[in-house]
């Protein structure tokens, strides 16, 4: 009578054995020519000249698309499709000499007409470019001959060559510009192969001799899944890993290299400067005095992150340390609140977008502000809601977000920006900065701007977001820092 039962049991054990017993064979000792990198966010499409999603650049920049110039791993401007350039004495005319023999992936040849087309398209009336401001100073773009282009500016712009290195300024072909969203055609060393929405983008090298022949970007949003995927060998690494808490684990594991660098992300407690009581500078100063950056970074970031006192990256030469402007001082904070007529404290909302730095940071900030009587209600929101409610609707008191564009202190002067902050002094300094091309003077003006926003306590300045690179030992050439949002594969190879 036990027959059928036992047969079933044996069957079930067989099934377990079959599936779990088969161990993946270990990798053969041979230099690999493929790489699989993880990314937290999936790009909405693959055209870097439309929209603002950083994830697009992280796939296509320098790999599929190239610009006149490029920004290298140190943040310096390098020649790319333009091999050299001459700047007129008044700083208005830029004459670019273009690389010859370049073709797009579809076989179309690259020449000066493509440059004219791309820049006109980006700055034109119907442009959907996410960074139209990069092209604001351009007056005309003229093709002098197939390998020479002259760009004339309406005013001198110290950052013009840097601007032309952004992902938003890459050169596209008029034949493929419309379809780049789903089938990107550029001049870069990697061709687009396929995109499986929700999962991955595959690229292939154009040069059959290149050390990396196949590259895959996989999209894994959950920090836990990211960690599991690396540990299980499903992916070779993350250039920008989301979970600082996992660093200890990977450092202990000899199979991986952990490289902690810096991003351009100033992580700030963005404050609605028109929303009472935050319209009172004393209240904002009280908040600044109550923030304990050391505790915040230790708890929410597991010790990773550099404290900042203003909206500026610490690795930039023009950086000045303003963390002492409103040092941690709870008595002073309470006194400032009392001066503002809020002896008993008050309550406000703190909207938190999905990244862990915001969600965890929000819990710590709420606990810290509670010490001076400010009760924060934490409201987690998805990015879509955040964009509509906070960024565009300005319907918020406080939020935590990392501003990852390089050198973006200019946003404080943007009309209608979600901080809702106005300062004549800052406007004047930034106007001077725009007109100045000499490095020392520019740095001094940048320092002045940092000081103004710090002293006005526009936002709570928390820390510079670290770039946590984790990849298999033997993989080299990935960037340590991210001066711009990119996963440049051109120097990546296996040792």
């Amino acid at each position: 009578m036990k027959m059928p039962v036992n047969v079933c049991l044996i069957l079930s054990f067989l099934m377990f054995g079959l599936v779990s017993g088969v161990v993946a064979p270990s990798a053969v000792a041979q230099v690999r020519d493929d790489v699989v990198l993880g990314m937290a966010l999936e790009p909405p499409h693959l055209d870097p000249t439309t929209g603002n999603a950083a994830a697009i650049d992280e796939v296509v920049y320098a790999n599929i698309f190239q610009g006149l110039t490029r920004i290298d791993r140190t943040g310096a401007v390098q020649p790319q499709l333009a091999t050299s350039w001459v700047i007129s004495d008044d700083g208005l005319d830029y004459t670019f000499t273009l690389k010859s023999g370049v073709t797009f992936h579809d076989g179309a040849s690259f020449d000066s007409r493509d440059v004219v087309f791309s820049l006109e398209r980006a700055r034109g009336e119907a442009s959907t470019n996410g960074q139209k401001g990069l092209f604001a100073a351009i007056e005309t773009v003229v093709a002098l001959d197939p390998e020479t282009v002259r760009v004339t500016l309406s005013r001198p712009q110290g950052s013009f060559l840097f601007n032309m290195g952004w992902g938003d300024a890459v050169i596209v072909s008029s034949q493929s510009a419309e379809t780049n969203k789903t089938n990107p055609i550029g001049t870069g060393p990697f061709k687009f192969v396929s995109w499986t929405p929700g999962d991955r983008v595959d690229l292939a090298a154009r040069d059959p001799e290149a050390p990396i022949q196949r590259a895959t970007f996989r999209f894994i949003a959950e920090p836990a899944a990211q960690q599991a995927a690396i540990l299980a060998g499903d992916i070779d690494g993350f250039a920008n890993f989301s979970a600082p808490e996992s660093v200890i684990l990977f450092e202990r594991d000899g199979r991986f290299d952990v490289v902690i660098g810096s991003t351009e992300g100033e992580t700030i407690l963005s404050t609605n400067n028109l929303s009472p009581p935050f319209d009172d500078i004393r209240v904002r100063q009280a908040v600044a005095h109550a923030i304990d950056r050391v505790e915040l970074i230790e708890a929410a970031q597991f010790g990773l992150g550099t404290p900042i006192g203003s909206h500026f990256a610490p690795h930039h030469p023009a950086y000045i340390d303003l963390t002492g402007t409103y040092a941690l001082d709870l008595d002073r904070a309470r006194a400032l609140l009392a001066e503002a007529g809020l002896t008993d404290g008050f309550s406000a909302t703190l909207k938190l977008p999905p990244p862990a730095y915001a969600r965890r940071g929000g819990e710590i900030i709420a606990a810290q502000l509670a010490r001076i009587g400010i009760e924060l209600e934490l409201i987690p929101v998805e990015w879509a809601t955040w964009l509509v409610q906070v960024f565009r609707g300005k319907d918020y008191d406080l939020t935590i977000v990392a501003h990852t564009e390089p050198l973006d202190i200019g946003i404080y002067n943007n009309e209608g920006y979600y901080f809702q902050y106005r300062s004549e002094a800052l406007a004047a300094v930034l106007a001077d900065l725009d007109r100045t091309a000499i490095a020392d003077q520019r740095f001094a003006l940048m320092g002045e701007a940092q000081r103004i926003v710090a002293e006005d306590a526009v936002n709570g300045y928390l820390f510079q977001l670290p770039k946590i690179g984790i990849w298999r030992t033997g993989l080299t050439g990935l960037w340590e820092n991210s001066p711009i949002q990119a996963n440049d594969l051109t120097e990546v190879r296996w040792q």
Binding site: M1, M3, S20, Q131, T196, P197, G198, L231, V388
Partner: protein
């Protein structure tokens, strides 16, 4: 009989229509502007308006509802806001993962649950029975996502036997595909196995006491023959019914499990689309899931009616 089925089919169609209406109404109130999400930070207002018109968001709601119904009848799907491709393709590739995953999970549930239920029933009130019942209770109480995490920690991270997640498709071969679905299917299938073990046990106990079993026994049939020929056959009906009802649970569970194992299935598609306000994708995916549940319930009802014509009077 025929009029009964005509009525059931009418009810089936009405239920589908009501579900479609519910989904549409619910999604109409979603906050968040898909156009803004597509363009991202710093989008131009003129561009936004143009894109909204492009997406058809400027038309009145009832017109959009009827358009959608028309599409549904022609089995056409909308275009995903996020990916700018037809949702049908996204759903198809999601089904390519979720489908096999659900089948695998059901397979595990059957292979584990039915024999365990049999063991328990044939050893009623003996240690074997208690063991199975304890397994069933624990299996139903342990959250599948916690179980999934523990499985990853043990099999993928500590032992390194199985992938921690991801799915490379079947083109790598059947076995590798099965391997990468094994842990997710196990974490989905185990609670199902627990439920099946209980159902099988009580169904078998009930049939063991039935007249025809006693008759067979009196005729001298061997116990194993009785168990195989009569009892298992009779018990298969409640087991199949329960499995039909569990499909909904399985599809819902796959949302959580697919997130843990980052499988690009329907659950992940739905979760991601919801957070990106990709309304068209959410709408069509939820409709598919709900329609599947309704259709399976309809089939189970119809099968039950065919096998046993008694409950025809009222459903």
């Amino acid at each position: 009989m025929l009029s009964y089925f005509a009525r059931r089919i009418l009810v089936f169609a009405a239920t589908l229509l009501a579900a479609a209406l519910a989904i549409f109404v619910v999604l109409e109130v979603l906050p968040g502007d898909p156009a803004l999400v597509i363009l991202g930070l710093g989008a131009d207002d003129a561009v936004l308006t143009a894109l909204r018109a492009d997406l058809g968001l400027d038309r009145p709601a009832y017109i959009r509802f009827f358009h959608w119904l028309g599409d549904l009848l022609r089995l056409e799907t909308g275009v995903s806001h996020t990916y700018d491709v037809p949702v049908g393709g996204l759903i198809a590739s999601g089904l390519g993962v979720t489908g096999p995953l659900a089948l695998f999970a059901i397979g595990i549930a059957l292979v584990l649950g039915v024999p365990l239920g049999l063991i328990a029933a044939t050893r009623r009130n003996r240690p074997g029975d208690y063991g199975v019942m304890i397994f069933a209770q624990v299996g139903m109480a342990v959250p599948n996502f916690w179980f999934a995490i523990l499985l990853v920690l043990l099999f993928a991270i500590t032992l390194g036997w199985l992938p921690a997640g991801g799915f490379d498709g079947w083109q790598q071969g059947f076995l590798p595909g099965l391997q990468s679905l094994f842990l997710p299917a196990l974490s989905l299938g185990l609670p199902e196995a627990a439920i099946l073990a209980r159902v099988t046990r009580s169904a078998v106990l009930e049939t063991l006491g039935a007249d025809f079993v006693r008759t067979a026994r009196a005729k001298g049939a061997s116990e194993s023959r009785i168990l195989l020929r009569h009892v298992l056959h009779a018990a298969s009906i409640p087991v199949l019914t329960i499995m039909g009802l569990q499909i909904a649970l399985l599809l819902a569970g796959s949302i959580v499990v697919e997130r843990i194992f980052f499988l690009p299935g329907l659950g992940k598609l739905l979760f991601q689309a919801a957070s990106q306000r990709d309304l068209v994708t959410v709408r069509d995916t939820v409709m598919l899931v709900v329609a599947a549940v309704i259709a399976i319930n309809f089939l189970v009802d119809a099968l039950a009616a065919l096998i046993d014509p008694r409950p025809k009077v009222s459903a």
